[in-house]
Symmetry: C2
Subunit: 212 residues, 2 copies
């Protein structure tokens, strides 16, 4: 059974802050065109995160949604998909993730490179990153934080293990629902090499692998 | 201070097993041409692993070196570099890593795609993967398992936290020494998308990032 999520994607308008408050109300934006995102079977989530893309993690606390740019994550189990990720306690998202135990892992392609870096250069303590970077929050189905409409995939997740949080900021997340733009066949994901250098996903090759 | 490691790289001869035993003696191979690997400052290790390359993890137990193909890893700290990685207890390398608490994380580029997949398709319980795939073991400087000469980077590592091993096979490693081929500027690393599909690293773009 495949669910269908019809979201509205606002045209990119990164540097023109929208005149709206900081409270995430789950409303649908105007000036929009429709994009269909489909439910992705949980067994296929690992293929999205294994290649190491930069992700945008959304959280929600006290009515305020935030976005964090993040590269320190790894798959830990195929199904249900478990994802380990490091969120430093210096990040504004740390307290939201620890307190609410929910987030969405959104995967941008290279067309969102400027917004992705912008979210990494700013702090949610002072900036409404959705407004600043023209990102569109879309209500998730199983968690409170919003999906980012402009990302080609979004993984709704809950924290399931915090044993390594105090020492390393390492959260174990379980993906409970996954969404993907079915037209994104070989997305040009971003891969951080450090200090502003990002490798953009190149060609895909096939080899006779027995690995899952 | 920059150390220099001169290793000998055997010409690739993947499908012709060498006539040698399974015991790793640290000897240097013949039929070789020299390649210089340089010491890489530990503060720069994260830039190698953050983009999510497939890696070849070497272990050594009871005189036998083994190689495991692996994609489930993440940086956890800049310096000293901490790396979290998942090794399933179904892998032959699991017991070696748990018992010896040492490994080397070797990073292959696309020219080693066939050998990388080959190591993933076979088990060290029955196969000497160095011999089978024409990989050259080179003595490491601070740990017992060998480096792989053909890989453009090799990170000597020790296990520092096993709290999540029983539940997830998740080891926290500290990189204690890093080696890199200084000619590998923008290596065409492999990034697993699942079921034999590998994305090969594409172009690098630069953006004004404040992220480390």
């Amino acid at each position: 059974m495949e669910a269908l999520l019809v979201v509205s994607v606002r045209r990119a308008c990164p540097l023109t802050p929208r005149k709206k408050g900081r409270t995430y109300t789950g409303g649908s934006p105007d000036e929009a065109f429709p994009v269909k995102k489909r439910s992705l079977p949980l067994s296929r989530v690992y293929g999205l995160l294994e290649p190491g893309p930069v992700v945008l993690i959304t959280t929600l606390r006290r009515g305020r949604a935030n976005v964090m740019t993040q590269s320190w994550h790894t798959m830990m189990e195929f199904e249900p998909p478990l994802v380990g990720c490091v969120v430093s306690d210096e990040n504004h998202s740390f307290e939201a993730l620890r307190a609410t135990r929910e987030c969405v892992i959104n995967i941008p392609a290279a067309d969102l490179a400027r917004q992705t870096v912008g979210c990494g250069n700013t702090t949610g303590a002072r900036v409404d990153k959705f407004a600043r970077f023209g990102l569109t929050p879309v209500p998730a189905s199983m968690v409170a934080p919003p999906l980012i409409a402009e990302c080609f995939a979004s993984l709704e997740a809950r924290v399931v293990d915090t044993r390594l949080v105090n020492r390393y900021g390492f959260f174990v997340l379980e993906v409970v629902k996954a969404w993907i733009d079915p037209t994104a066949k070989e997305p040009r994901t971003l891969h951080h090499r450090g200090h502003g250098r990002f490798m953009v996903a190149g060609e895909t090759i096939r080899l006779p692998s027995r690995m899952k």
